[in-house]
């Protein structure tokens, strides 16, 4: 099984620790991982901005970089969703089809491909989980409150296995954080307000460590936490599962 690691552009540039934690975690789980050095980005930023035609070269580059692998694992539900859903505008060569099928969000890969039962990590903290919309509703990694009142999903299942952990019960379990790619600057007022409201929900319900499956949402939320000096530490799920402590 040939497994490639895809570290999204903004994680590569601004959150290398998330990339390192992802790599170390996969290695601990016995997965042999290759990091193709010519990788860049999945092409989502331009596409969400209304310029998916411009993204085609980025899509082609991504496919060229990753098509030889059986699995492409990435610590991002959003990039995974984009590749699966929106790589439909380039010619569907066997390579493109293979890439769209092989790409996995990290937790999905751990639970459904590696199929691990236990994570031997102590994490004695109150943890608030932010469900990123593309992971939750896009990839169906967690139940949606529009459809059922049962709050459950891949990430919370895995988190519950950690020793000493307590999960925050939020007032609104799956409201969007307001990042939304370019939305975070083009609709700055609403974007910021959505993020602020998420942080209030976490603070009211006792979150000490805020985590999630997408660094983009977390970057936005962390930006608000830092501006407000809120007593919350933001960590990506890969860092927690890798045994990093806040």
């Amino acid at each position: 099984m040939k497994v490639a690691l895809f570290i999204p552009c903004y994680v590569d540039q601004f959150y290398p620790n998330v990339g390192i934690a992802t790599l170390q975690l996969l290695e601990k789980l016995g997965v042999e991982v290759v990091f193709p050095m010519k990788q860049t980005c999945c092409g989502q930023p331009m596409a969400n901005g209304g310029c998916e035609q411009d993204s085609k070269v980025v899509y082609e580059h991504f496919v060229g970089t990753f098509s030889e692998f059986d699995y492409i694992v990435t610590p991002s539900g959003s990039c995974t969703y984009h590749i699966k859903k929106h790589y439909d505008i380039i010619e569907q060569t066997p390579a493109v089809q293979k890439v769209r099928k092989s790409v996995y969000e990290l937790v999905d890969f751990i639970e459904n491909v590696v199929k691990i039962e236990e994570i031997p990590v102590d994490f004695p903290h109150k943890v608030g989980l932010h469900l990123s919309c593309h992971g939750q509703r896009g990839l169906r990694q967690a139940n949606a409150s529009e459809i059922t009142g049962v709050r459950d999903g891949q990430i919370s299942k895995l988190l519950r296995k950690l020793k000493g952990i307590e999960l925050t019960e939020l007032n609104r379990n799956d409201e969007c954080c307001g990042f939304g790619g370019m939305f975070c600057v083009t609709e700055e007022a609403v974007s910021a307000r959505m993020g602020q409201d998420r942080i209030v929900d976490h603070l009211c319900n006792g979150t000490k460590v805020l985590t999630g499956g997408d660094v983009s949402c977390l970057m936005h939320l962390e930006g608000i936490v830092k501006r407000q000096n809120a007593p919350i530490k933001v960590m990506h799920i890969a860092e927690i599962l890798n045994g990093n402590q806040p």
Binding site: S55, G138, E187, E188, R193, E222, R227
Partner: protein, 462 residues
């Protein structure tokens, strides 16, 4: 005409922090009521699928079903009119009113129950300019009519107003005591005021929630009973409907009545679900069937599913952007996510900011009782806006440049290194300058690390 785009109007809305909180929580409360009504129905998701499939089938055979509906309605003694656009619709309605209420010495009087179609056609202003007195009889509609505002929500037209605002409006228009804000007292004042209007009306106009091809009858859903009161008192009933309101058979109706009120307000069913088939003895009934851009939308493969909408408003209540920007920020008759996919069909240039007024979180699609893929259509409209050259030059060329960089690994690596270096060196006041960097108005930038992941990997693993 000059108009503001969604981000500007949304920013203005957000200036009042407390009111934004209140607006968000009020709409979220409605969303929660919807959840409480939906969760206990085990077959709710199957109902959504069924409703979606019936509408798909109907839209694929719309010409036949419209003709079937017309033939059956005519058999029932109803007069059927066809309007290609808003202007024709308004003209037809005006002529019916004028010909059926020739009263010397005063204007003809119309009472209306809620109809988003007539809002879309801007009927009220047209009729008033033609010396017809128009009274909206839905309480929320009457409030916004007094205030000369458009509705801010398709089910809850005055949801942007607090009881204090309504008190002030009623003080001015109905003479209630200044400062009176008790909802019961205000509602009673409106009730007494509207009674007089109902009794005096020559013509009653209603919308149509569902038109049944098989029977030629139509169904109007209200909570206030105002449609029924108007129609039963006036001599003439005009019902206005978009061509997409058709369902094939009467037994399909229950699928929609089970979904509509639960999705809209969390009620099992609207208080009144009134079936209209034929005029009462000595009375007239007219149906005006309107296109106004709908066939154009039907012809757009990616967007035709937007015509399945049953106007429940659930996508507005669930939308985190709508809740924090208000219905008026959309500047279109139908606001919120569904409005953002309907409006570009009408005027792409004017409404080009609406497909971007979303994080594409997908909550709208999951809440939609007829399973319209709203967030997918938002994404697709964005591409059309982009291709129609409606993006700013800065954005357009910025995107092209970014795509180039991201397709060339060496250039990407170097650009990232330079950007991080600059962020580390430049003073906080400059990197977080709020007029240059909107991100920094409410957020800190992430710390720029010395090494990218790729650089770390190169150093440690290769």
């Amino acid at each position: 005409m000059n108009h503001q785009n969604h981000p500007e109007l949304a920013e203005a809305f957000n200036k009042d922090f407390e009111r934004t909180t209140w607006h968000d929580e009020t709409l979220w409360f409605v969303r929660q009521k919807r959840d409480k009504a939906v969760y206990p129905i085990p077959e709710f998701q199957d109902l959504r699928t069924l409703a979606s499939e019936i509408k798909d089938h109907t839209l694929s055979n719309l010409d036949n079903y419209l003709i079937e509906f017309e033939q059956n309605a005519i058999k029932n003694g109803v007069k059927v009119h066809w309007a290609a656009d808003a202007a024709e619709h308004n003209q037809i309605v005006m002529e019916i009113i004028k010909s059926s209420s020739k009263v010397e010495g005063r204007n003809p009087r119309l009472v209306k129950s809620k109809s988003m179609l007539t809002e879309e056609c801007h009927l009220n202003g047209f009729l008033e300019n033609n010396n017809i007195d128009v009274v909206d009889t839905d309480l929320g509609e009457r409030i916004v009519q007094f205030r000369n505002e458009p509705p801010s929500h398709i089910v809850l037209p005055a949801i942007h107003l607090k009881k204090e605002d309504v008190g002030e409006t009623f003080h001015v228009h109905l003479g209630t005591t200044k400062g009176e804000k008790d909802p019961q007292i205000l509602t009673e004042a409106a009730r007494q005021h509207l009674r007089g209007k109902f009794v005096a009306a020559d013509v009653a106009l209603t919308g149509v929630n569902f038109a049944i091809a098989e029977t030629g009858s139509f169904v109007v859903c209200t909570n206030e009973g105002n449609a029924d009161l108007g129609v039963n008192l006036a001599k003439v009933h005009i019902a206005c409907m978009g061509i997409e309101k058709i369902i094939p058979k009467l037994h399909h109706l229950s699928v929609y009545t089970r979904l509509l009120a639960r999705s809209a307000t969390g009620q099992p069913i609207t208080t009144y679900t009134s079936h209209f088939t034929k005029p009462a003895e000595g009375k007239e009934m007219h149906i005006v069937i309107v296109d106004n851009g709908r066939t154009q939308q039907l012809g757009r493969a990616d967007f035709r599913a937007s015509l399945k909408c049953i106007r429940c408003g659930a996508c507005m209540n669930t939308c985190p952007v709508y809740r924090r920007s208000g219905g008026h920020s959309y500047d279109f008759t139908v606001p919120g996510p569904i409005g953002a996919i309907l409006s570009p069909n009408i005027d792409l240039h004017k409404h080009k900011s609406l497909p971007f007024a979303s994080t594409l979180c997908g909550s709208c699609s999951d809440v939609c009782p007829v399973k319209i893929d709203i967030h997918v259509q938002l994404y697709k409209w964005r591409q059309i806006v982009g291709q129609a050259n409606e993006l700013t030059a800065a954005k357009k060329w910025g995107m092209k440049g970014m795509a180039k960089v991201l397709s060339m690994p060496k250039v990407y690596d170097l650009s990232g290194k330079l950007a991080r270096g600059a962020l580390r060196i430049l003073p906080h006041g400059l990197t977080h300058n709020q007029s240059m960097n909107p991100w920094a108005k409410a957020r800190e930038l992430p710390d720029a690390p010395k090494q990218s992941f790729k650089e770390w990997y190169e150093e440690n693993r290769q």
